[in-house]
Symmetry: C2
Subunit: 136 residues, 2 copies
DNA sequence: TCATCTGTATTACTTGACATATACACCAAT
DNA sequence: ATTGGTGTATATGTCAAGTAATACAGATGA
């Protein structure tokens, strides 16, 4: 599992961790039942304090993404009957919700908003995921 | 012009000010050339420090939303040839951009994403204010 | 039991954002 | 020049977020 963090990016390290783990789950790279690296392992790999890893894990547990087994590594939680596609749709809806609010507040016509969305999707043609690697 | 700030909302006061002023401009309530209240006036109305107002104004100037006239009140800047509808569309595009990135990263089908957007727009039909655009 | 994994509660340090008080510079009209 | 308006540079205080050092607790397996 590929995880990269940049301590100077402005985004808190624990949040970078959460985002990347959730992303791997959403794409199916991490499946329900998979074990996550121990706090100390990940800690030494990434060069950050174990507590920072633990913080990310705790939040993920609170969000029901991961399951705690006392004295054992954390595992990816399986939500019964939820497919990868479901997860992607959930994430999409969450991402769209603030825009939906805005469209209503500003009184933008729905068809206009949909047209704009379609144009943006077709415009930006670089569809590849880009991860910023911090080489030394 | 109605401006309300809540010091305990978690959102910085200067940012609440910026957001509301930009919102009023986008909806057309504040037009190019309109004067903004002086820092001290707004300060005493809202019960916050004049410097906080000044900070908001400075950022708005940096964003080219407002124009500085030495020794005189700030005025809403007029961007030549930009209609209210243009402003709304700009804001919509900005709001959608992160979602667009996400859709591409996760490999969600465009039609699927558009369908979801349409459903969200039609679903949450809560009674938010709708403004009519009579600006061409 | 002992050694060694696991996670984490507690505590403290550092840092940056936010808001404020004060004082100053500028401009326009007296 | 004086008065009263404008905005703001500077320094200070406050507070919360992020991270880390330490020490502890539960589980596992020899």
């Amino acid at each position: 599992m590929l995880i990269i963090v940049d301590p100077h990016s402005g985004v808190p390290v624990y949040r970078q961790l959460m985002d990347q783990i959730k992303f791997h789950i959403t794409t199916g790279l991490l499946k329900p039942g998979d074990e996550l690296p121990s706090t100390r392992t990940l800690s030494s790999e990434l060069g950050v304090n174990p507590m920072t890893i633990s913080k990310a894990y705790s939040f993920l547990e609170r969000e029901d993404v991961v399951e705690r087994r006392p004295g054992r590594p954390l595992v990816v939680k399986s939500l019964p009957g939820e497919t990868i596609k479901d997860k992607k749709m959930d994430q999409l809806k969450e991402s769209l919700s603030s825009t939906v609010t805005m469209v209503k507040q500003l009184g933008i016509e729905y068809e206009e908003a949909l047209k704009t969305f379609r144009e943006l999707l077709e415009d930006k043609s670089d569809a590849t995921a880009h991860y910023k690697e911090d080489d030394k």
